[in-house]
């Protein structure tokens, strides 16, 4: 019996010491610690596999994905009392590229503390989209890569979300392939108002694990980005009807499905 009690005590002490260790420190905006937000791309219940993965949407169309890239920017974390910490903007632009495994992490530094909510922008805000070119470095460099990157030269602005692939249901395109191409952008216009496909996504972390950010830890908010929701969202998107969606009014319909793609799976602290 005494043995049992001592075991119990030991467990209680261990638990309480654990709790003490991860108790939230006082908020100090200069006391920064690492936090990553992981964008884990999936399709329905499956892991997304470029090129070889074959998927089916709610319209009954089968498709694969050869390119998937999107901008995540302007990360804000919130404490349980609602107090926000805005990641400095110069350090808050990320290009999630399915073809580069490490790019799935948006790595930022935030003050030590416990965070129960996070917001981010899918896309690039209008302010940065119109800034001097010297302020557009790294993933924002309009020079792009060999594949033309994530920037529209002819109508100055970033492509927020780029997904390409093939589907037998897509009509034959001028290259002779059954391809679909979704290039979604539009920050609202500089000289005249036009498409605004910037979407701010909010993730409540309370149910599946708050982020406990400490200097000696590597908190990781693990999100799923379910690409099937792009097709099977508030508006069902058909590849056969809309094989190419770029700078057009319909892009807004596609972009309106963005928010539902994101779910919080868990947090590693």
């Amino acid at each position: 019996m005494i043995k049992h009690i001592s075991y119990l005590l030991l467990i209680v002490i261990t638990l309480s010491s654990c709790k003490k260790e991860i108790g939230a420190p006082p908020f100090d905006p200069n006391n920064l610690a690492p936090l990553s937000v992981e964008f884990d791309n999936i399709v329905g219940g499956q892991n997304l596999v470029l090129n070889t993965g074959n998927y089916k949407n709610a319209a009954g169309e089968t498709y694969n994905i050869s390119t998937l890239k999107y901008f995540i920017s302007n990360i804000i974390v919130y404490k349980a009392d609602g107090a926000p910490y805005v990641v400095p903007q110069d350090s808050s632009y990320f290009l999630i590229n399915e073809a580069e495994a490490d790019s799935r992490f948006a790595r930022v530094n935030v003050p030590e503390g416990d965070y129960s909510k996070i917001t981010f922008t899918l896309g690039v805000d209008s302010l940065r989209s119109t800034m001097d070119i010297s302020k557009r470095t790294g993933v924002l460099d309009p020079a792009g890569g060999h594949d033309g990157g994530m920037y529209w030269g002819w109508n100055s602005g970033y492509i927020f979300f780029k997904m390409e692939g093939s589907s037998p249901q897509a009509p034959v395109d001028p290259t002779g392939q059954h391809s679909y191409r979704y290039h979604i952008g539009g920050f609202g216009g500089y000289s005249a108002p036009t498409l605004n496909n910037i979407h701010i996504i909010t993730m409540d972390l309370t149910n599946r694990g708050i982020a406990q950010v400490r200097k000696n830890r590597k908190a990781n908010i693990h999100l799923f980005t379910d690409i099937s929701k792009l097709f099977n969202g508030a508006t069902q998107i058909s590849i056969a009807s809309n094989p190419q969606v770029m700078f057009s009014a319909y892009s807004t319909t596609v972009a309106n499905n963005f928010a539902a793609m994101f779910t919080h799976d868990h947090t590693e602290n």
């Binding site: 001097d132 010297s134 309009p142």
Partner: protein, 341 residues
């Protein structure tokens, strides 16, 4: 006798040296960007890109650099030829890499510091972002900017030229396009007969015919072609009707129904050098342009200022043409500082 000969030789040598290019260059200091007195303030943010001699000269070298294209054959200067007021004279639409044709007429590189929006449809809002378009366009240079920068970085001369101009031999997208901007905003056309007359320079004066044409242009054309740049930089449907390729102009950028078939109002400067005219180069002669505006029975979609046509008689058309001739800037098309070196 001998001393005299030596002295003469010395004087001659000094005279020759004084005439040499280098000494001449010292006598003409680089002035940077100077606003013509009668022009408004520029819209280009010069504070973010002060024009320096090194930056300007680098920009000029880049402007005439065929490495900007995929197969190193096409430079900016290929479709923007100085003698044609930096347009592609004689081409209705631009003629790019592999003999591919664009869909619009090559616009002049002229007074761009006063141009708020670039391209016929205004899709580019910053001159520093503009070069990306022709470099990446399939029918123009068909190259990626990142590859252009890699080519320049591996070139024997460019890294040192970038270091001189921007303090670093690491070539960036920003320094690359800002060098081009420095050259392009220096392509200023402000020394026409018109400019001399309105600034009361010397004894400059219009002939009676030109003066009458000036009044007619002010009356009939000034609503869009505003002095002294002879454009208000707006986008309008001038009633020429959709072309065979149904280019919808400004609409493609704004997706606003009311912008369909609107194109940027071009300047009236240097028309003698820059034929053909209109966004698709459909008018090869200036009198055809004037006839169009005179006779237009504007559709309801065309600009309200044009709906009734200008109803000009033959004498008035001659006067307008006489005035337009005073807007041709020989110094601009012949300025050696803007030419390929």
């Amino acid at each position: 006798m001998r001393k005299k000969q030596v002295a003469i030789i010395l004087i001659l040598a000094a005279a020759v040296a004084a005439c040499s290019r280098d000494d001449f260059a010292i006598d003409v200091p680089f002035l940077g960007f100077t606003k013509p007195a009668h022009f408004p303030d520029p819209v280009y943010k010069i504070a973010n890109n002060e024009v320096t001699k090194d930056g300007f000269e680098l920009g000029r070298k880049l402007f005439y650099e065929p490495r900007l294209s995929r197969n190193n054959t096409i430079s900016c200067g290929s479709c923007h030829i100085q003698s044609a007021a930096f347009t592609q004279h004689g081409h209705d639409v631009s003629h790019g890499i592999d003999d591919r044709l664009g869909r619009r007429n090559s616009p002049p590189i002229m007074n761009l510091a006063w141009t708020p929006l670039y391209m016929w449809d205004g899709g580019v809002f910053d001159l520093d972002l503009q070069p990306i378009v022709p470099i990446t366009a399939h029918e123009e240079m068909d190259e990626s900017v990142s590859n252009v920068i890699a080519k320049l970085q591996n070139h024997s001369a460019y890294p040192a030229l970038f270091k001189k101009a921007f303090g670093s031999d690491q070539i960036t997208t920003a320094n690359f396009t800002k060098a081009l901007s420095q050259f392009m905003i220096m392509c200023i056309s402000a020394e026409t007969k018109y400019d001399s007359v309105v600034q009361h320079l010397g004894n400059a004066a219009f002939t009676a015919q030109e003066e009458a044409g000036y009044r007619l242009v002010q009356q009939h054309c000034g609503g869009c072609h505003k002095e002294p740049l002879f454009t208000d930089n707006s986008f309008r449907d001038n009633g020429i009707g959709a072309g065979a390729n149904n280019d919808q102009g400004r609409y493609e950028v704004t997706l606003n129904e009311s912008d369909k078939y609107k194109f940027k109002v071009p300047s009236l400067r240097n028309l003698a050098y820059s034929a053909p005219y209109m966004h698709d180069g459909r008018f090869i002669r200036l009198d055809a342009v004037i006839d169009h505006y005179s006779e237009i029975k504007g559709s309801v979609d065309s600009d309200p200022l044009l709906r009734n046509g200008l109803s000009l008689n033959a004498a008035e058309k001659e006067k307008i043409l006489a005035f337009l001739n005073t807007l041709n800037d020989q110094n601009f098309v012949n300025n050696p500082a803007l030419a390929e070196q």
